[in-house]
């Protein structure tokens, strides 16, 4: 009979201010208030009351009785708790220090930095998280859980280099093939624990679904399923908010939670923590993950955060902002995965999930994000050495972006920076470029929005697309060389 390893991800983002408008009068210390939404506090209070307090009380009592599980707290959640709900933090403190629980490592800002080309930011944030866990709970996590289970070969290698003994990710079929997720595998010599999608989603998604033929799910049934499974270790990993927030207490989720440990014990199923699971069981094989996987949606890839054009624009903008970030903290808040999740434009079942988790619609999320990022960069430029180059390379808001059009109207491509403009020149229809060149729009935009008179002059009379690409590209490379 396999062991069962429960894990809970506990995270709250600093959601961006839906009503953000730039306010040059605001001082640096007021920026968090300007950038982040008031509702963050309301949400935290609501979730604490409905989920964190009742669920943690149950789990604490079960931990005393010998139930074992692991927790992964994000740094942004801890900050919010310290600020607004210190009592809940002390509950979590008891959980974290309990002999039957284990703390997992993750990125402090629950960020997408693991997918960046330059992994130094990822390593920094993982280090910040370890320090935080040590400061608060006197524990240094040894097993890692990357943001939303995003994982690939490079992440495995880097997490191994940071000294972790194991990492969690999703048991995705296309990676495993015919193999079972109920064993330990290695990826580039890094031991990997794989989440059981089916059994995890039975709780996380289907628990209160009246259309499901197993509804209502009872603790004894579920324990039967776990006991009847073969393998070494079953990893059940859930959003902590599943208990009480995604499923309200009226659905019976708390009863389920409080009866499950006893039912498991009755059947002789041992609960365990990741570190011990890794000690008890040897890896049975290797996995190779070239394309990033995650636990999101049905695609189980990075498309929930980097699926559409706007997400790509925002994602590359925040990576580029590294060069501008004199104030690294605010920049890191902007890397939190949730901001990108809100911009997703998927429909169907996954679309519903995205909407459920979002406080504004996808268009609005993107507009707000770019506005905040643009304001952030503008403020940092003031204290930069190469202000002129930085101004030309900065990220623009939706209003400042270059929208490609033809005499019929908008063609559907918008450039939010000089870099993106250069990339789009290869993509947009030739007649749209010709249209703008004829009217002098491009030179005008470069001069007015990007403050680059020289480039504006150079390209003003250029009619050949390749030549135009060449000139813009050369210029941006020169300007970037000033910044780095």
């Amino acid at each position: 009979m396999p062991d069962v390893c429960f894990g809970f991800e506990v995270h709250q983002p600093f959601r961006l201010n839906r009503f953000f408008t730039p306010d040059p009068k605001k001082k640096k210390k007021d920026l968090p208030e300007l950038y982040f939404d008031e509702m963050n506090r309301e949400v935290l209070e609501r979730v604490s009351e409905k989920c964190y307090v009742p669920a943690t009380e149950i789990i604490l009592s079960k931990l005393d009785e010998g139930f074992r599980c692991s927790f992964s707290f994000s740094g942004t959640l801890i900050e919010q708790l310290e600020k607004w709900q210190p009592d809940v933090l002390s509950l979590f403190d008891q959980v974290a220090r309990h002999r039957n629980s284990e703390l997992l490592g993750q990125t402090y800002y629950h960020s997408i930095a693991g997918c960046f080309g330059d992994k130094s930011e990822f390593i920094n944030q993982a280090g910040m998280h370890t320090d935080l866990m040590y400061d608060l709970f006197k524990i240094r996590p040894t097993v890692f859980e990357n943001t939303e289970f995003t994982f690939n070969n490079q992440i495995a290698t880097h997490v191994k280099d940071m000294g972790y003994t194991g990492i969690f990710t999703e048991g995705v079929d296309r990676v495993l093939g015919w193999r079972s997720p109920h064993h330990i595998y290695t990826c580039h010599d890094m031991p990997v624990l794989l989440r059981d999608i089916q059994l995890s989603d039975d709780i996380a998604f289907r628990f209160a679904n009246r259309g499901w033929d197993k509804y209502p799910l009872m603790a004894d049934t579920y324990a039967d399923w776990l006991a009847g499974t073969s393998g070494d270790v079953i990893n059940i990993f859930l959003d902590y908010e599943t208990f009480g927030e995604h499923f309200w207490k009226e659905t019976g989720i708390f009863n389920f939670l409080s009866h499950l440990p006893a039912e498991l014990e009755k059947r002789g199923v041992r609960t365990t923590v990741p570190t011990e699971a890794l000690q008890d069981h040897a890896p049975v094989g290797t996995i190779d993950v070239c394309d990033t996987i995650s636990w999101a949606d049905i695609e189980k890839d990075a498309s929930a955060w980097m699926g559409n054009d706007r997400q790509h624009a925002a994602y590359s903008a925040v990576q580029k902002a590294a060069a501008f970030a004199r104030d690294k903290t605010l920049w890191r808040y902007l890397q939190t995965s949730d901001h990108f999740y809100y911009m997703a434009s998927k429909y169907g079942t996954c679309g519903e999930v995205h909407n459920y988790f979002s406080h504004h619609d996808a268009d609005d999320a993107f507009r707000t994000y770019m506005a905040v990022l643009a304001d952030f960069e503008k403020r940092n430029i003031r204290v930069m050495k190469n202000r002129r180059s930085a101004r030309t390379l900065r990220t623009l808001t939706c209003e400042e972006a270059f929208h490609f059009a033809s005499d019929h109207g908008y063609v559907g491509y918008a450039a939010y920076s000089l870099d993106q403009f250069c990339d789009l020149l290869r993509v947009v229809p030739a007649d749209s470029i010709a249209y703008h060149q004829q009217r002098g729009d491009i030179a005008h935009w470069i001069e007015e929005m990007l403050d680059d008179k020289k480039l504006a002059m150079d390209i003003r009379n250029c009619t050949d697309r390749q030549e135009l690409i060449g000139m813009v590209n050369e210029r941006r490379e020169l300007l970037w060389s000033h910044l780095t």
Partner: protein
């Protein structure tokens, strides 16, 4: 991976003389190959030689009284230029595209050569043999090219079969390497309602798009008759026919009582707008060696109803990423109705189409397949 020195011979390219789809197919392939190989591209053009995105272009300026003479002159000039750059037999692979540079292939036949068929003269002539001298000359060149080239590639299995049957190219010698696409060029982010309104169409009315030359091969007549049937139960369906051709007069006459707007030839930007605003793309072709429109529609995440012919038949998986129908109006009408009556499902099919593009039809994997063919020739 092995790295080759490749010489392309093609009568058109994206940055100089540009005639049809061959230019973008060959240029994109060359640019993608140039990431791992050295690529020189011999083509026509009036500018000095240049290097763009890693590909070295060498231009020639041919002359001739007719197409065949013109192409022979072009081939001779290409070979001359080729020898200038071919010091110590530098080039490993000589890659020829379509019949135009066959004369060059003839002169360089001792080298490792590849001939790619993007189409055949028989197919361009509407799947019929012709009895005029150009037809016979060009077909003859195609046959000769297939005979002397060390290896042949075709853009689809249908094309491969056509080449094998017409020109007796043996099966072992012929590989299928499809065309690729740059999906970003076709996916734009705009408000479909705005675009529809510009054409006087209500934002919620289903917009059906036909794009292509209005010629018999593309089946616009089947499409119009199918629309007549669709309109019997969907009064709100609207149709835009983009493209021009010999059948336009006739079609407009037929469609006088139907909600069909013939907008004629449109610039690329307008095509992008319509493609991203429409709810369904219909490809009613009677013959289609590859069917690039399919990849364009998929890139824009649009569902497709297409006839079960040629490259379309090969690439569409019915009810997974599109609907395949018979080239007759009842069948096409059924396909269109099925799509527009269930817009949610149609949307899903469109998105699956895009993921097929991202999986199969990006230039990088396709250039990889071409490089495999290269190694078969040189090995």
């Amino acid at each position: 991976m092995e790295s080759f020195n490749v010489a392309f011979f093609c009568w058109e390219s994206m940055y100089a003389e540009r005639v049809g789809g061959l230019a973008s197919a060959a240029t994109n392939l060359a640019e993608t190959l140039a990431k791992n190989h050295e690529v020189h591209y011999f083509t026509r053009g009036w500018m000095p030689d240049q290097e763009i995105n890693g590909v070295r272009y060498h231009y020639c300026r041919p002359q001739g009284g007719n197409t065949v003479q013109y192409c022979d002159d072009m081939s001779n000039q290409m070979v001359e230029q080729f020898h200038q750059y071919d010091r110590k037999g530098k080039f490993d692979i000589l890659h020829f595209h379509d019949w135009h540079p066959i004369q060059a292939l003839h002169q360089l036949q001792d080298r490792d050569t590849i001939l790619t068929f993007h189409s055949t003269e028989y197919g361009r002539n509407g799947n019929q043999h012709g009895d005029w001298w150009e037809f016979r000359d060009i077909s003859g060149k195609e046959w000769y090219g297939g005979l002397i080239a060390k290896r042949v590639t075709a853009v689809s299995s249908v094309m491969k079969n056509e080449v094998m049957q017409l020109y007796n190219v043996p099966d072992w010698k012929c590989d299928v390497v499809p065309n690729g696409i740059v999906p970003q060029q076709y996916r734009a982010h705009l408000d479909a309602g705005d675009v529809k309104r510009a054409y006087g169409i209500h934002p919620y009315a289903p917009l059906i798009l036909f794009i292509g030359r209005l010629v018999y091969q593309k089946g616009p007549d089947l499409f119009i008759e199918a629309i007549r049937k669709v309109c019997q139960h969907r009064w709100d369906a609207k149709v835009i026919v983009a493209g021009d051709g010999g059948m336009r007069q006739f079609l407009q006459e037929r469609a006088r009582d139907l909600p069909v707007n013939f907008i004629g030839y449109i610039p690329d930007s307008e095509y992008i707008r319509l493609l991203n605003a429409c709810d369904l793309v219909v490809i009613p072709s009677r013959n289609e060696p590859f069917g690039l429109v399919l990849l364009e529609a998929w890139s824009a995440e649009k569902p497709v109803v297409a006839c079960d012919v040629g490259g379309l038949s090969e690439n569409i998986d019915t009810f997974v990423n599109g609907i395949k129908v018979q080239p007759e109006c009842e069948s096409i009408a059924w396909g269109i109705s099925t799509m527009i009556d269930d817009p949610c499902n149609a949307e899903i099919l469109g998105r699956r189409g895009r993921s097929k593009v991202d999986r199969v039809f990006l230039w990088d994997p396709i250039a990889g397949r071409m490089a495999d063919t290269y190694s078969r020739v040189s090995g």
